[in-house]
Symmetry: none
Subunit: 215 residues, 4 copies
DNA sequence: AATGAATGAGTTTTCATTCAT
DNA sequence: AATGAATGAAAACTCATTCAT
């Protein structure tokens, strides 16, 4: 009643910006970038449109700000859950768990991040692709350490980047699947992906590969 | 020069429909559904807008038609490359190769299919999600056969669906990565994903799983 | 089955024109001029649009042709029901009966005639107003004869035209009311209007008028 | 010159809404609903189209708003001119005078009200038919009082509704005729219709009816 | 700091009409 | 005689964006 009824006036900029971003994340996550309208954002935020433009800039800018903030939160959550002194496999494991935990408790954030991820070429590619690339690089770093240690040959090493991309995609897809199957516990989903990543990659590193010729 | 310069007149409906669909796939793949305008489609197709509406219906209908056609082609390509009498791993392998071959030679088709896949909630979710679901089910069928044969327990069996979703996501992501690294040969990319899928899943089926407690 | 299934080919012009006009009357009477589309007319007529344009001209022309034909039918029906040698009141009575009979058995014709009657300024004013004027003049002629005979003064005579307009409007409105109350027999409706016209006008002619001063 | 030349800026909503409605009434009365374009309304109103949609909704809504406003004015004018304590004939007389006075001084209002009245089936039938029905009921109430007092039999009583419809139609038609003959004074037109109504109906109530058999 | 008022520029969609066969 | 193919032109409507207060 108090929140919706009477618009609070004269708030400091910081607070207003947060209000607006919260509303924007909600609206973008519900309708997607294109179907979302600035009118709805302003309504949900309880703030007039000119304020949005004054504080956050154009619709595109606003979306970018959302992505940045939510991506930052996701990355923090993962980084916070991982101890960089642990062995790579434990790091991956902790990272995956943190990722799925984040998705579970921040569905809207996840949606807004993931929904437009694919749409290359759109007006916001940069923000979104940058974030995705960061994720891939993170995984790549871990995999590379393992590969190097095990003395993997050049060709195989070059593949870690591709594997990382594949794993990130697997994670995204699995997270989506999970949203439709909420009964599955976090650690179960995480362990599925962990196995896919670790065993699949591990075998490969060890030269234990599937080949058609074997058949 | 001849196709673009001078509008060919009075073509039979079939031909025009194909022209329009071709143009639509191109335009949608370049800009995405929302940024694409019917004006541009009509221009690229060399056909006036009323023809588009007369033959293919609304923008949404047109997009759905694109998805249906391209998804059909992709599925045909895969089905055509797979011999259902082979062992599951060989089927998966052939399927993956066909998939990547299709992506390589039909970049636009792939983009238009993949681009909007994530955007749940749009007006065309149905077409697009249906296609994705078909893909997941296909993989699931293969994985399940293996799991059953190896006497996997119930819990693990239940996971095949999730694994399939993850693998499809991995495939999509890897295909995207590949578009940026065209030097990599088809069979290499395919084998990477094959290993991830087969070895990762195979280990899991055999009870050879990674667990945090081991550390 | 035969009428709808297979378009009969190579019919003489007269027949085609009738087909088209029939369809047009039906379509116009159902949707009104503006909501009606040439596509629907052509479909209902079982004739391609170019034929319509070739035979009947533009949409406006087509509508005018409908009005002309139906108005002609109505006028014929009335004229055929009236014996010009009778006394004016009997002529009016017969005319009214014929009018209501026509409305009862040609609802579509009536609708297409009446519906757009009011819309002065539209593209078809002329046809439609001409028809209405003819009707008013017909009534006027009858009323004038009576007025003259009864030695009505100039001022009152001048009023017959106005009274005729009023009576035509009353007839239209009553016909509409009747369409919603089909249980009422034709002669009852006709007699209501007859009384309104004859007694009301008759009193007036005889100087038996209502005046506010009397109260 | 000042109103049309320079667009007055930043007016309160109320004022703009009135401006828009005024313009809409004018445009609709000139071209009718279908031929009128929102572009023209916006131009005449001196307001951009988005304002129209923001304040008054769709074209249909706008038209409905016009009808409602003008019908309200007409009804008020009539109600304001009638003393409900007077005898029925005086009420009818005062009502008719008020009606014609309104038509005389609000030609546009009358046109916009009357023009589409007939077009049943359009998207706005409801507004327009509702208004007409109100008018008919008003007359019916008066006529019924008389009929009851004079001990009219059931059958005849049932006819008052039809007579009311006829009289309303007569009034509409007469008003139209009058627009083309502006020299005739208001009270003359009103008295014509009054006589038609009162004497014609009065005779009927008294059993003084015209019958064909008398001839 | 904050907003109601306002719009330019675009979108999808439809329809009367005509050409080429 | 007859039509499938084709379009120019315009209509309703929306939205991101900004001005004046």
């Amino acid at each position: 009643m108090s929140v919706e009824d009477k618009r609070v006036k004269r708030l400091p900029r910081e607070v207003r910006e947060k209000q607006i971003l919260d509303a924007a994340v909600r609206v973008f996550s519900e309708h997607g970038y294109h179907e979302a309208s600035m009118d709805e954002v302003s309504e949900v935020a309880g703030v007039s449109k000119p304020m949005i433009y004054a504080y956050l800039g154009s619709k595109e800018d606003l979306f970018a700000a959302c992505i940045r903030r939510e991506a930052g939160l996701l990355m923090e959550a993962i980084a916070g859950g991982v101890d960089p002194d642990l062995a790579p496999d434990m790091q991956l494991w902790m990272g995956l768990r943190s990722f799925f935990e984040f998705v579970a408790s921040n569905k809207q954030s996840w949606r807004v991040l993931h929904r437009q991820v694919i749409s290359q070429g759109g007006p916001f590619s940069e923000e979104v692709l940058a974030m995705r690339t960061r994720a891939i690089n993170l995984v790549d770093a871990l995999l590379s350490r393992v590969a190097t240690k095990k003395g993997m040959d050049d060709h195989a090493q070059k593949s870690t980047e591709a594997m990382s991309a594949a794993l990130v995609g697997a994670g995204e897809s699995l997270a989506d699947w999970w949203l439709d199957h909420p009964a599955v516990p976090t650690r179960t989903v995480a362990s599925w992906l962990m196995n896919l990543a670790w065993m699949g990659f591990g075998d490969m590193v060890e030269g234990n590969v599937w080949t058609p010729s074997a058949h």
